[in-house]
């Protein structure tokens, strides 16, 4: 049985101008210890996906269709009390900005102990011991001092380590990391990602890594989902997606990465920007920015298998043929 099973998930936000669907038709499942990356532009619905798994979408949003199952149990039908035994306990979430996710007026220790006491019947002293142990796990220097410090006394990287330690407190089965390194500088990013990878592997924790950084995804995850305007448009093993992207959008994302080796060339970018959720073109949401769009793209594309990936694009076969031709031309 899969650890997490998301089926036909749809999230909509009721606005005055009508309901806007932030997520449509999301399907994926996650095994124990598996790490999956969710990539896409800002506004693609990545963070909403993270929150909807925990059933914590704020008003006026709601899960309007579909189902999230955790260990076979549907999370939507749980009452608030049962849901709280899952949140923080079985599924932990790590946010983007460690400056903001720690409460500025409580010490690190207070915040960690509080989380432990909310889920377990243990004494404060025992909770402090566990907190200390977790701080050691995330390799924070002089962990005992940190417990009595306030968040503002620590650096950004250190704070993110503490946020990770809080995430690990209850030995969760799944961690949802919502852009955990975006607010950090590059060297710290690498350290934090390495730490997360190591911790997930050692404790057999599944990870949903939400990010727009393809580099991070390729470093940490086994599978990747690419999201655009609330839909998954391509999913498959990470190395397939990075090395041989099928969907024009994914190709665009990868081409837009700066290459260290090439000098003096203009960075390729995807033209235009993502439409607002109220103005998504009919059919394929990407069609108005896609170089290959045709009449067929007026209809919503189904997933087709291409290479090792599932791709939602009508033009995949043509694209594959084209690139093969190109390769042959190049060879000839």
């Amino acid at each position: 049985m899969a650890l997490l099973d998301v089926k036909n998930l749809e999230v909509s936000f009721g606005l005055r101008s009508g309901a806007v669907k932030a997520l449509r038709d999301i399907n994926f499942s996650l095994e124990r210890g598996e790490r999956i990356g969710v990539v896409g532009e800002s506004g693609a619905g990545k963070s909403v996906l993270g929150f909807s798994i925990l059933n914590l979408i704020s008003q006026p949003g709601r899960i309007s269709a579909g189902d999230v199952r955790f260990e076979g149990k549907s999370l939507q039908n749980l009452n608030d009390k049962d849901m709280r035994t899952i949140r923080g306990n079985r599924i932990a979430m790590i946010f983007q900005d460690p400056m903001m996710t720690l409460n500025p007026v409580l010490t690190i220790g207070d915040q960690m102990i509080e989380c432990l006491l909310a889920h377990r019947q243990i004494s404060k002293a025992a909770a402090r011991k566990i907190a200390l142990q977790k701080l050691m796990q995330v390799q924070i220097p002089s962990p005992e001092t940190r417990l009595d410090q306030y968040p503002h006394e620590l650096s950004g990287g250190m704070r993110q380590r503490i946020v990770i330690a809080i995430g690990l407190l209850m030995d969760p089965d799944l961690i949802i990391a919502d852009e955990p390194t975006t607010a950090l500088d590059v060297t710290i990013q690498a350290e934090i990602m390495e730490l997360m990878l190591e911790l997930c592997e050692r404790n057999n924790v599944a990870l949903i890594l939400i990010t727009h950084d393809l580099g991070v995804v390729s470093q940490v995850t086994q599978r990747t989902m690419v999201m655009y305007a609330g839909r998954v448009i391509e999913q498959g093993p990470t190395n397939e997606i990075i090395n041989d992207a099928q969907h024009p959008y994914t190709q665009g994302l990868i081409n837009a990465l700066p290459q260290m080796g090439v000098r003096g060339e203009r960075l390729q970018q995807i033209r235009g920007s993502m439409p607002s959720l109220q103005a998504i073109p009919k059919g394929c949401a990407f069609s108005n920015r896609c170089d290959y769009a045709s009449e067929r793209c007026r209809v919503i594309p189904e997933f087709t298998r291409s290479g090792g990936c599932l791709v939602a694009c009508h033009m995949v076969e043509e694209l594959v043929a084209q690139s093969e031709n190109k390769a042959q031309d190049g060879g000839a």
Binding site: L54, L56, Q59, M83, R84, T85, I86, R87, G88, N89, A92, M93, F95, Q96, D97, M100, T101, L102, N103, P104, V105, L106, E114, C115, A118, H119, S142, P143, E144, T145, D148, Q149, V163, I166
Partner: protein
Amino acid sequence: MTQTSSALADEAPTMMQRFVKSHFWHSFKIDRVAQLSFMVFVAYILMALLAPLLAPFDPYDPASIDIMNSELPPSWQEEGESDFWLGTDAQGRDLWSTILYGTRVSLTIGICAVLLQALLGICIGLVAGYVGGKVDSLLMRMADVQLSFSTMMVAIVVLAVFQATFGTQLYQDLAMVMLILVIGIAEWPQYARTVRASVLAEKEKEYVDAARVMGLRAPRIMFRHILPNTLSPILVISTVQVANAIISEAALSFLGLGMPVSQPSLGSLISSGFEFIFSGIWWITVIPGVVLVVLVLVMNLLGDWLRDVLNPKLYKG
């Protein structure tokens, strides 16, 4: 390992060291007005607390009062007597003792009324801000309705009706409790609005999301996570509200609806001397009046200073 970690733990600053290094203490050290106000305020508190020790006479004990001593001027005036430093009031009570006890009554009413306001206002404001939606609208409309009655009007009506219904004797016994209740209940919207506004701002911050993701219960998030972050505006309005409550009590006493003459507050002292002021007996009104004004002034000054310290955005150049 244990040795190094305990050594490091020793280096962690104690509460006192943290305080001495803090911005709070630093800005207090350089602000003369704040220092002076604080000293005066502490003097008032000591006066109130130690009134039975400081006062030469017990103004609540009818046996110690001699009507023959009534309306004596302060001792530095020609007709003054050295026993009565600030003179005596119309009933022959030593004014200095009465002021000490009156300060005690005024401060007690002011502080207790504000505690009640804060309790009501903070709970209502937190719930309104955190829950939002219909609950918020309902609670805030209640606050609007409450605010549209002026405190004085509510207090006058309630106290007058109480006095008329239950008689003066019971009223005199319960006057302090009634004043605290009336002033406390009439002014809760001040707190509720301030707290709600801060909660609305705090609620959007990620640490609240993080707390929810941790699986904490809503009351826990409200009181332990959000409330401490809204403390600075609460502290600032508290100082002003205590001053306001003291003024309200004084005004009500002046109108004859406050503390009875047998247990005078500063306000009822002022009013009791008012009828003699035109016959040259100024001290019964003026001296408690000055005491009251200084008390309210230092509280407002402290409140101003506190607001400047706790809100770094209001930087005074």
